[in-house]
Point group: C2
């Protein structure tokens, strides 16, 4: 197995999000009329169906388990779920086996903060490509839908932080080195100085949450899309570099300790008969760190990220409806063993 690049072992995924609103309708937070909300859903669904095969989920009807699973996969937000009466989501149920190994999944939230929140998440560092794909769809939609657009300001949005391009480019990062070397505070302040935001994807980005952070552009107005993408990309590459240094420092500070922890984690995950998600995420993060620094051999580090997604409580519940928490722990352990016995040693 060939060594894993710093980028591959640090960047989990790239996300492009476009905020759009329909001209002639009040912003979702101003809608007091169910008829209007449903009309917006109808219009967006109609336009989108001409572009791709989407499944439509009304938040008033969606099963709780399905909603939580979509949320865990970052396809819809908690805010949309809470917007029970007006909210809906279009989820690209297209071919899982992407011929180009692109693995992206398009979603459109309807009547979340804006009328449309178009989004595409892809594996690895692929902002431009994801933007091209999503922007292509957005162009198609704009042939049918009349977006609220101002010649000077650009796209109009419910919140001024999204005004202009309506573009949010985010990259999900795995930063165990910087976290454990206690460098995240300075990274966050440096990145914020450059006009970006870094935050823990799940809570504080702590070890307990898998050392996962998301970097996003802060500025959407007065700059063009290319600039936003290239600035986020530059910041990501800088963080990848810092993370790589931090990992080396961590290993040189306590090589046996780091190796022991990640090898034990692999031993447990390849042998356990039941495991909670909390313990799983703590251990798989050690294994990922081990893979990044060469103490664990894995065929493809993205398989580990796929495993993380697959064994989240909501996703396991979707797969096997009506499982108790204990039964989920058993199923999770089984998936861990299968995946890791095949792909890691």
């Amino acid at each position: 197995m060939k060594p894993i690049s710093n980028i591959d072992s640090t960047v989990i995924s790239s996300r492009i999000r476009l905020a759009r609103n329909l001209a002639g309708f009040p912003f979702p937070n101003r809608i007091c009329d169910l008829t209007q909300a449903l009309e917006i859903i109808r219009l967006v669904h109609g336009a989108a169906s001409g572009v791709r095969a989407f499944n439509l989920y009304y938040m008033s009807e969606i099963l709780e388990g399905v909603a939580l699973s979509l949320r865990d996969d970052h396809l819809i937000s908690a805010e949309l779920i809470a917007n029970k009466d007006y909210g809906a989501a279009l989820i690209d149920e297209g071919d899982e086996e992407d011929p180009e190994d692109f693995c992206g999944k398009v979603s459109i939230m309807i009547n979340e903060e804006d009328h449309l929140r178009e989004q595409l998440i892809v594996k690895g560092l692929n902002l431009s490509r994801a933007y091209q794909t999503l922007s292509g769809m957005d162009d198609e939609l704009s042939k049918t839908l009349r977006f609220a657009f101002d010649g000077k300001l650009g796209y109009l949005t419910a919140c001024p932080t999204n005004l202009g391009t309506g573009l949010r480019a985010s990259v999900m990062l795995f930063l165990p080195g910087l976290t454990r070397m206690k460098k995240m505070k300075s990274v966050i302040s440096e990145v914020s100085r450059l006009g970006h935001t870094v935050r823990g994807v799940y809570g504080e980005g702590s070890a307990a949450e898998g050392y996962m952070y998301q970097i996003s552009n802060e500025v959407t107005l007065g700059v063009d899309e290319e600039y936003i993408l290239s600035e986020v990309q530059k910041a990501v590459l800088e963080i990848v570099n810092l993370e790589s240094h931090a990992r080396r420092a961590l290993v040189s500070r306590d090589k046996i300790g780091v190796k022991d922890a990640c090898r034990r984690a692999l031993g447990i995950l390849t042998h356990c008969e039941r495991i909670s998600f909390a313990e799983f995420i703590r251990l798989i993060s050690e294994v990922k760190l081990g893979a990044a620094v060469g103490f664990v051999k894995v065929k493809d580090i993205s398989l580990l990220d796929d495993l993380i997604a697959a064994v989240r409580p909501a996703n396991l519940s979707i797969l096997s409806d009506g499982l108790s928490e204990k039964e989920r722990d058993v199923l999770r352990a089984q998936k861990c063993r299968e995946t890791l016995q095949k792909s890691a040693e």
Copy 2:
């Protein structure tokens, strides 16, 4: 790999010990004269050397590490080590590769509680055979040494509890089922009613100490050797039976929990890069239990007992002199991985 028998998964080793004293000398606790003590050592060493190849260790000269290692292997006692001026030990340094796979090691403590404490430990449940071997040596010694013997009482000993045969037959047992099902108290009282003693080999026989217990005959006087051996053997077989029931009850109470614990323990022991003896003994006990109930496959359960002996702190120190505790933990982990990757799955 074939299933392990209940006896093989419960009985670790059998030990025969004979207490003897030389006529014409005061008992060790009455000796106030170094010359007498050294004369006894000289006589015993001379006689024993005619029978087997022994190494002689004076407790006044023995290296601390060697003494601790011999003690951990149950070849000498803490009392002998404390008996610094008068004590000595003859250790059979014979062929490690026993052609009959008997694996016994004879030792003679000199000037411990009695002038001679002859002893043989063998693997598994082998009291008669161990007794034959040791008794044969004792017969040889008695041709040269004049043992204190009374026609009515038998062999005379410093403490009346050893009077008569001077025989102590002990069997070391692995009792995780009875311990965890909280049955040890009733087992101990029942065994005591039959005239035997059960005690934890290391402390209380708790999980932390590897669930190891020793059963020994209490009575040495007024019965012959055959009777003692057969009574201890009977009690052992009864305990093996009770332990087997207890293990089944444990597994039927929480199958996934027991399987999870022993599989995780195996995962850690086959992957760790450093491990303390305390953690090791806790985990290897889980693996042994797993092997006994079929959740872990091992080629030969006695390999696990050999591993336990090999990675005790004193034994590791003997192998690699001058190791720090941390270095021992690394060496122990390496031995664990090597042994278990070969012999367990």
